[in-house]
Symmetry: C2
Subunit: 371 residues, 2 copies
Amino acid sequence: MTSDREGAVAALAYLASRRERIAASLEALAERRGSALERAPGGGRATLERVVEYCLRGKMIRGGLVHLGYAAAAGAGPDRSLGAAVESVADSAALSIELFQAGLLVHDDIMDRDETRRGGPSIHARYADEARALGAADGLHVGEALGICAGDLCYFEAYAELSRALSGHPFARAVLGLFSQVLSEVATAQMADVRWGSAAAEVGEEEILAMYRCKTARYTFSLPLAAGALIAGDEASADALSAIGESLGIAFQLRDDELNLFGDPALTGKRPGGDLREGKKTLLRAGLLSAAPPSELPRLRSILGDAQASDADIDYVRRLAESLGVRPALSRKSAELAERARSGIAALRCPDAAARGILEGLAEYVTFRDK
Amino acid sequence: MTSDREGAVAALAYLASRRERIAASLEALAERRGSALERAPGGGRATLERVVEYCLRGKMIRGGLVHLGYAAAAGAGPDRSLGAAVESVADSAALSIELFQAGLLVHDDIMDRDETRRGGPSIHARYADEARALGAADGLHVGEALGICAGDLCYFEAYAELSRALSGHPFARAVLGLFSQVLSEVATAQMADVRWGSAAAEVGEEEILAMYRCKTARYTFSLPLAAGALIAGDEASADALSAIGESLGIAFQLRDDELNLFGDPALTGKRPGGDLREGKKTLLRAGLLSAAPPSELPRLRSILGDAQASDADIDYVRRLAESLGVRPALSRKSAELAERARSGIAALRCPDAAARGILEGLAEYVTFRDK
């Protein structure tokens, strides 16, 4: 982050500050639920501890956004009787969204055969290693089977926490309905993603944008922000934050595409061009393929999806993306979306000036982050 | 079923009659939720239709037991204001338990590498075939990845339906809490099951009994019966039905062990000894291993887990189980549990004589069924 982006820095500091709080509730959950599951075969405590440790390795952005949505809407809704008591509901919703995310990632790592995640072994990879050490003939398969169960447990625990906390809350049905709707969309989108990865056919820009809207925008940004606002009792703010979250999320994802190719490795910590080498169906890729003149297509196509593509190849694609206007178009679109988010933020009732400031900082962060 | 077991016949007829009703709500769900998921990439309608078709191939025992629990408790609780309106809540709970079961089975088939289920291809096997037809290099893996997502979708849709239907219900928290608790126990037990299957070590009778209690008794019998009673507004009946369900479920599973070795193939449709050949960790197996004299252990051990064991081998184990008293002990225990269930049923308030009769028929069915 360039140091003059003070709003972005403040937004990140806010999310980091929520992390401690979520971590504490995750640890309490492992303890409490570990006891409740003791009578089941297999115990459950060890699995919960492992899942919680996995959550703690994450940035917990989604959980932090629940708190931000709550702070932005608290005191803005018609029902003033919803007071400090519901803050604990926001805590539970933040905890549960981190558990849902853990479950999705555990399953995702099995699908993608990723052995590492969040700076450590993925859940199924660790189970596979343990199974091999115990002499299992097919350790990977045993690890995958245990990983599927561990992911399922995350979902069941997440719903348990969420529905328990929301019991008697006037917007219980709306919050639970929102979680389920968005999670079902994510499961469906994930299937499309698996199919895209296994088929050679190109995917159109509209479809890719719909994927960004679903997985990054609606799931990562809109859901937690809107859930927080509903918990604070303000439906109007929830709707507004949902729209703001969509803009922020797509802007974030477009910047992600851009950073992946143009980012400074010293800041991102990644060798540029990873998405291209992987053959990931990004908007940047689709833009390149639709803008490239026939003369450039053979070389471009040979690089896309080639895990061994050289730095010179990536540099060629970088220049092409610049000269064809693909990169400028991405930046422009990302900036437009951030601007739209800013208008939405300005129109929020949001009695809490600090929360408004953090939201504005987020709009700065999503388009100007450099890592 | 021997024709003189009229109670058992009536219980099966009751469950079959509930099936139509649950099937109709499943089909309505595919239609309604297919529309709601249309904006997500991948649509979701086709997946829902496939999942519903998979549910429809099942016997829907669990869904039927929700209706039975509801019927047994309706009008027995303190809150008479819970009237016909909550019958639709029972419909939703029945639908959602079938969706949970579908999700668990879809994931289970991936873990067990089962290609068929419920008289047709398993979900991931069908996806794998389709991926291969489209030229995917690793069709099985693509099928498994899509199957994991489809199972996840089942859970999300099941919770959505359940929490929507329970909104405003006085026992919403209790019902949602019960579902989550039992499902988490099942996920945990499933992990123990995977570990049992991948390790050579024997499992003790207590642990196997805990597995039967969790997966067959509490999940398949207690959960739906108690959920139905809670929906009807009667906590006392829910507790009683939960205990009755535990007895019925364990009795059912013990009879299952017995039928697997001693059943008449003309009735069960299965070659006897399947569990033994598979090496499944059943109570019958644990009983045999602990009762067999040292002189019989080598032959017995060579047969357990031998997929190629001959019919003569199985016949030998059958005679051993009889002479060592293992089979009589199973039958006795199953009959005792059914008797305990009958006492519980006699003590139920249950104003509905027909529902009481069906419960009694179930107690007859679980111990005397011959297929």
